[in-house]
């Protein structure tokens, strides 16, 4: 079972709440996904209003909220926003998103590292959204991160695991859970991410923008489970050449 900080998860599919055609459709899709960790953009929720439409549709005992800091441009703003979220939503979990570039939404590694250090000291469970940078992942571990969330490809692009070579390095050397975030465009991408050993994936656009978000959410649920099972069962290795019937070293047995 997946464990992040003090929490265990049955489902390895984390989800987002943006881009849906209504709060009701979002609710139905997220329930169908079986997701237990759902990220919510602070900018979309009304922290002053206990009757917020998005939050009202996420009131399930199995769903934990993961507020995110989307919109901030540096560590200082991120730390302030995280504190606001902790106060309003009563959770010390934070998805740290610092993308000062609003066009491609590329995460800033320097500010993210600074903010992780600061937030970990303040008692937050920090899940930072980052580029697929293995060295940054190790630095974040030192800074006290609870997990790392490297991107598969640009956020919202549905392009799949373009960074796979780097993700494999990250997975092989990480001491904290690795959640592949951003770019996962189809259930087969999610299955692939799980097969290479990711601890979880986060999917939003591919579910929300599908013609049938509820059905797509279920497809992702199954794909993540299948991918994880395949990882646990150990995939056979892929050969680009046939196994020789007369091995090169057979002479040694003569």
């Amino acid at each position: 079972m997946l464990k992040i900080a003090n929490k265990t998860f049955q489902s390895r599919l984390f989800t987002g709440t943006g881009k849906f055609s209504s709060a009701l459709e979002m609710e139905q899709a997220l329930v169908a996904s079986g997701s237990e960790l759902v990220t919510v953009a602070l900018k979309r929720v009304d922290l002053k209003n206990s009757d917020d439409d998005i939050l009202n549709h996420l009131k399930y005992p199995h769903i934990s909220l993961l507020p995110n800091t989307s919109g901030v441009r540096n560590a200082k703003e991120a730390v302030f926003a995280a504190q606001m979220a902790r106060e309003a939503l009563e959770t010390n979990w934070i998805k740290l998103e610092i993308h000062p570039d609003p066009k491609y939404l590329m995460p800033d590694p320097i500010e993210t590292l600074l903010a992780t250090e600061e937030l970990a000291k303040l008692g937050f469970i920090v899940l930072p959204y980052i580029h697929a940078d293995p060295v940054l992942c190790k630095r974040l571990e030192d800074a006290g991160t609870a997990a790392v969330m490297p991107l598969g490809s640009p956020i919202g692009s549905n392009k799949g695991l373009k960074t796979i070579d780097f993700l494999e390095i990250i997975i092989s050397q990480s001491t904290v859970p690795v959640i592949i975030d951003a770019g996962i465009g189809s259930p087969s991408d999610a299955a692939k991410a799980m097969e290479i050993g990711a601890d979880a994936v986060l999917v939003n656009t591919a579910i929300a923008v599908s013609r049938n978000p509820v059905k797509m959410a279920e497809a992702f649920k199954i794909a993540v489970e299948a991918g994880r099972m395949a990882f646990e069962a150990k995939l056979g290795s892929i050969h680009s050449y046939a196994a020789a019937s007369s091995p090169l070293t057979s002479f040694l047995d003569d």
């Binding site: 055609s21 900018k43 929720v45 009304d46 703003e77 606001m84 656009t205």
Partner: protein, 371 residues
């Protein structure tokens, strides 16, 4: 390059216009089928040669918009603070030579107007003024931002161009977005339409987005007033401006509007008329050219056009708008900037958006993200 002027001056209006009108069907097909699009591709997409490809453009535009923005439309509303203006602009109801009594909202009136807007459901507000630097100045704006900041999540302004230091100061007071339309990039025509007042300085206006970028503004809005000059050439310069700004001020967001000249008291007849098909072509062209830019549509456009255009690339819409200071509560009949076309209420527009399978979004920013 220190400002856009240098790049702008390297392109002549006449040659640019000719190069747009010279685009062929083959250029359009190339623009539609490539994965990254250049300004030359944008020229093809806005050219007369692209007219037969409108349906295909709409399909691409729709799917790109869905991928980036999802099934949502951002709701915003203008709050006119003042119709005082020292500029003469041939196309504007607030023009100095339009001898009608003027009004600037007091603090109490601002709050009364804001209360009505909040009741309509709005959380993003666009503050609008003319240009009257002796009474509607940075100190006035600071007071207004102080008043409104506790009540709205997102504060935008469409006001006279200011100096860099003024923008920096206003950002401390919660200013998030500034819209500044060039009106036209045709320098000589610009002079004709702005014969008097500070606005007659073409270059100061042209360099305003540079000052906003230097100030680190979160979002800026660009556009031209369609009807003054050839819309294709003007839109090309807008796209070129956008391209330049995105590269230089990479931490800012951008939005584009395409206001078509509307009737107003004492008004000007458009020199160039753009029909609905052409406006649709332009909207789709912007989206295909730039997947991330926000595209906004106002109540200048008709009911039926707005009902249908929200699925084709638009990301933000206003509704229930008044274009006069006091129009919501305190002085219903003051001088308006222009007559709106779509008079439906915010609730009616929200319902229309839902019927189309989209969600009207009232809040997409939080003041805590920048303070």
């Amino acid at each position: 390059m220190t400002s856009f002027t240098e790049l702008f001056e390297s392109c002549s209006w006449g040659e640019t216009k000719k190069s747009i009108y010279d685009k062929t069907a083959a250029d359009v097909e190339q623009a539609l089928h490539t994965s990254t699009r250049s300004l030359e591709d944008f020229k093809a997409l806005i050219s007369p040669a692209a007219a037969p490809y409108l349906e295909q453009m709409a399909q691409i535009s729709r799917s790109l918009t869905l991928k980036r923005f999802g099934r949502i439309v951002q709701m915003y509303v203008p709050l006119y603070l003042s119709n005082e203006c020292n500029n003469i602009c041939t196309y504007c109801g607030f023009s100095y030579d339009n001898k009608v009594r003027r009004k600037t909202l007091s603090a109490i009136e601002v709050m009364q107007e804001a209360a009505v807007i909040k009741d309509m459901g709005y959380d993003h507000v666009l503050l609008v003024t003319g240009e009257a630097n002796q009474s509607v100045h940075t100190d006035y704006f600071k007071k207004v931002l102080d008043l409104l900041r506790p009540h709205f999540s997102h504060l935008s302004m469409e006001i006279q161009p200011l100096d860099l230091e003024d923008y920096k100061e206003l950002m401390h007071y919660g200013l998030n977005t500034v819209l500044v339309y060039q009106e036209t990039y045709h320098r000589e025509d610009y002079k004709k339409h702005h014969p008097k007042g500070k606005k007659s300085n073409f270059q100061y206006r042209l360099e305003t987005p540079d000052r906003l970028g230097q100030a680190g503004i979160h979002k800026m809005g660009l556009g031209v007033l369609i009807g003054l000059e050839d819309w294709r050439t003007d839109s090309f310069f807008t796209a070129m401006h956008l391209n330049y700004l995105e590269k230089k001020y990479w931490q800012s967001k951008y939005s584009i509007s395409f206001p078509r000249l509307r009737p107003f008291s004492g008004g000007l007849e458009p020199k160039v008329v753009m029909n609905d098909k052409e406006l649709t072509q332009l909207i789709c062209a912007y989206r295909i050219f730039n997947e991330e830019v926000e595209l906004s549509i106002s109540t200048r456009e008709s009911e039926s056009f707005r009902n249908n255009i929200i699925k084709l690339g638009i990301t933000a819409i206003s509704a229930g708008s008044k274009t006069n200071p006091g129009g919501y509560a305190t002085e219903l009949d003051s001088l308006e900037q222009f007559e709106i076309s779509d008079e439906r209420s915010a609730a009616e527009i929200a319902a229309m958006i839902r019927t189309q399978g989209y969600e009207p979004v009232w809040k997409d920013w939080d003041i805590s993200l920048t303070r």
